[in-house]
Point group: C2
Chain length 554, copies 2
């Protein structure tokens, strides 16, 4: 008999535990393949620990191939599903080559996406905490803020660099705030020019209290503990907008900050919206067996799925499986059993599970726990937290590495190495009225196009008394002199109203403009017309002569 | 008495050991500041171990602030030096703000740069092994090759993915090849569709033998050992050109490979060339005290400096200090003593040092060593290698972490987690005559402009029988239909002669073209004129409908 092909999309808790159980239960009869964007499984609960350097980035994840030794693991991106043909198109490799994968049964476990579109500027100016790269970037960003704050002489810049905002106070928000605060506290002795009282951290929650899934008294304890650690907890307040310099709250207050972490805004996975499936709350509706109605060979589980726990579910989240790792793991087992039962012609079983409880770390060796109805807080809860996650972490190697690193980290100086990633070549930057885009003396870093709003450029040459002013609206641009020479900014650009710019980094912009004669010509004419030619330097001093050479076209 | 300001530029072996000694010898009288691009010191000899996952990226480096607790460490980029004013301009922070730093004595320790310009395509298509990011990228790249090779069905693609080329067989080249080979060997059991005999690795050296600084018999042993490990050692052969699909050797042979690591091409640091200093072999000439002639308060050491060991040095490298960590460390001590002696009006001392020997790891627990004239090879040399570098690694925390990770790594499954970095938005891609740029069915990934050469686009629609052909020369472009929809390539583009393209990733290109009305208009007209309008799809099938949505302008 030919083996049945089971295709699992997604390598989170739901996908991995389903694939593992399918492989075990169906050995010899099933051919299990799992497709995931990364070649590793992310142990999400440990991401805040990565952000704080408590553990190494590689230790919060487990290579899927080592976790699923008898499953074909494919690192690829899911592009589309043809339900009629029972085929999934994925793109794989550096060149993104399409491959069609056939299935007999399809398991959808792609989790959720992030949707921050409701808060202007938030998507472009906040860090998130969904995957390993996010945790790594947050850590790198925080250490970068300390590095610059230690050597800057500008008070306003220093204030902004030393103010940290975490939006959303569920598990992820609370643990991220607590762990980041701990990293900063431990790192500070190495930054001689930063005083501990200069650090400000805010945890902002729209609901009336933090940790909504916890009993009220544990949440109150957690709030007290976080405040004690120097984290200002603001509840009943939302965020209205964000820019590169801070966030605006719903009560009108503006917090100037270089670091905004958004742990809010769970949205559907981008692919889900295109599949024509029945969605509710952005999740794929399934029956109690985790089958997707209307599609005979499609199953869904984990955060992506809306699995009813009762026969006639109402508009009450309690009627559905919750979006936690605990549930996803149990769903994975049950789904595997149901698929095997289906092939054997046996009866399928309802998914049923009751949460065993919740745990949240608060930093400083404190936590809150609500386990089997028993409420714990403080050091004991924290030890339980560590023990639980260590035991839950799949694979002996991962457990061992995390355990060793926890011990190492507690006795060693904190790891403040900043492994930087190159910033993206293009980015949208939001401004509030009056914000400065750049000032004279800054290094020319790129080219700006106005998407909306209006921006005013002012150039004053104190030596010659020359004065130049120009206002730019949508579709207009500034900073094109980067094409002529790499020098310092001579002008000041300010937002005349709230607005949005598209920034393109110097290197990428000059490469493009030079390779593309049409654009090159356009800018030559524009610079001649607007500034009276490329030699019109407006440049104070002679620092320009010492700037690094512009990249030469090969 | 006011403290004298000593400014050290560069945080490699030379800069760090000079700063450490200056701080110690000059405590109370000197104010030492060190400027470095990264906030960590890179222990270069361990970079190949990072590439092979033997140790974590963070463990091959030490935070400068933890190494130099009484030195002001400034993470910033050196932009220019005004010798007359005794001032250095650096750029710091995310916004690259310029800061002027005054000095009484300046220590130049910025090391060297990489210059691969002599070999067409090499700079754009090879990985290097100079810093931590390089090692991290090599590791990520190698694991990515295994991931794709495991799931591809195309033999040619698989061959290319499983062929690895290391150019240059000095220490860095030999150790990089050996360690990468070891990573692949250990990872392979987890890639079920790759057979060990499908892996090919080449080590290419222009000189008649590898490890030129070692005695001939040790080099011969090393060659035998590397060959035994499955690395083809090609000596007396150079590289002529490189593209994204392989390297061309000086003997005319072409090796198809997705991975080329260049450990050759040491060039001067980019800043050095602009300073008007006396250079020889791209290095700053100093006197025997490490002072830079003609500049009373400037010193140089490490790889950046050419320090004579004799009074009348000839055109013989042996007359100068060699560019190794061993020498740099001794130079740092001596330079610190000389600066302190200068302030005290005491006599300066010549720099004098004789190498204690060399060590090179060959993988598989083998190494070669030539220490105090004693030649060793095999396991004993390898243990000496590990012991020596562990003792040499500055700071107890670093030693402990590396030691623990060496042990962990030897008993645990290899770490095959692929922590990907986003590819750069723009890149130059070289092609040999006949190379394909893309083929029908590939995901549209970006826009191409021809820098030189000529490229032919062919589109055939089997359903309608339509045929379209166009040749593109310098300044012309293709791939602009990415602006209209995100779909699969319908055409084939081939190089009609050797050529160079500038590639711009879809996301960045569409953001720019849409934000910039002038460009938007240009492409609308171009598409109309060239293809007869945006609806002329040339698209086989309906996969396009399932592609992810194009990003919306916020």
């Amino acid at each position: 008999m030919e083996k049945k092909k089971i295709l699992v999309l997604g390598g989170g808790f739901g996908g991995v535990f389903a694939a593992k159980a399918l492989e075990k239960l169906g050995r010899g009869t099933l051919e299990v393949q799992l497709v995931n964007n990364n070649n590793y499984f992310v142990f999400q609960p440990l991401l805040p620990e990565v952000a704080s350097s408590s553990i190494n980035a590689a230790d919060a994840v487990v290579p899927l191939r080592q976790l699923l030794t008898n499953v074909q693991v494919r690192q690829a991106q899911v592009m589309g599903i043809d339900f009629a043909k029972k085929a999934v198109t994925v793109m794989q490799g550096a060149r993104m080559t399409p491959v069609e994968l056939r299935y007999d049964e399809l398991v959808f476990a792609l989790g959720t996406g992030v949707d921050l579109a409701r808060i202007p500027g938030m998507a472009d100016h906040s860090l998130t905490m969904k995957d390993l790269t996010d945790a790594h970037m947050l850590r790198t960003h925080v250490i970068g803020c300390l590095e610059t704050a230690d050597v800057t002489t500008e008070t306003l810049v220093k204030d902004q660099l030393l103010t940290f905002v975490v939006v959303g106070a569920g598990f992820s928000g609370v643990e991220t705030a607590a762990e980041t605060r701990e990293l900063i506290r431990r790192a500070l002795p190495y930054y001689r020019n930063i005083k501990p009282e200069e650090i400000r951290m805010y945890l902002i929650e729209y609901a009336p209290r933090i940790l909504p899934t916890f009993p009220g008294d544990l949440a109150a304890y957690a709030t007290k503990q976080l405040e004690k650690n120097g984290i200002h907890v603001l509840t009943g307040i939302g965020t209205k907008s964000a820019t590169s310099t801070g966030v605006e709250l719903t009560n009108g207050r503006i917090i100037n900050s270089s670091t905004v972490v958004a742990t809010i805004g769970n949205g559907p996975h981008p692919l889900v919206q295109q599949l024509g499936l029945d969605l509710h709350w952005g999740r794929i509706k399934t029956d109690r067996y985790m089958r997707v109605p209307g599609h005979d060979h499609v199953w869904a589980l984990g955060d992506a799925a809306l699995i009813p726990l009762v026969d006639n579910p109402q508009e009450d989240p309690a009627d559905y499986a919750t979006q936690t790792a605990q549930f996803a793991v149990r769903e994975g087992y049950q789904l595997a059993q149901n698929i095997v039962a289906k092939f054997k012609g046996q009866e399928l079983k309802y998914f049923a599970y009751t949460s065993k409880g919740s745990l949240a770390s608060l930093g400083m060796s404190k936590a809150v726990a609500d386990v089997y109805g028993v409420k714990l807080s403080g050091l004991l809860a924290w030890l339980l937290w560590r023990g639980f996650y260590l035991s839950f972490l799949p694979g002996f190697a991962a457990k061992f590495r995390v355990g060793v690193n926890w011990i190492l980290n507690s006795i060693m100086p904190p790891n403040i190495v900043q492994l930087r990633m190159p910033p993206p070549a293009t980015r949208y930057i939001h401004f509030w009225k009056g914000d400065k885009v750049f000032e004279p003396g800054m290094l020319i870093d790129g080219f700006y196009t106005v998407i909306n709003g209006s921006f005013k450029l002012t150039i004053d040459n104190p030596e010659t008394g020359e004065h130049f002013e120009k206002v730019f609206g949508p579709g207009e641009h500034f900073g094109e002199r980067v094409l002529i020479k790499s020098e310092l900014r001579t002008g000041l650009v300010e937002a005349l109203e709230d607005g949005l710019l598209l920034f393109i980094a110097q290197k990428d912009f000059t490469r493009f403009a030079r390779a593309f004669p049409f654009l090159d010509q356009y800018f030559k004419e524009y610079i001649e017309k607007t500034f009276g030619g490329p030699d019109k330097a407006f440049a104070p001093g002679n620092v320009a002569a010492q700037q690094p050479e512009l990249e030469k076209t090969p």
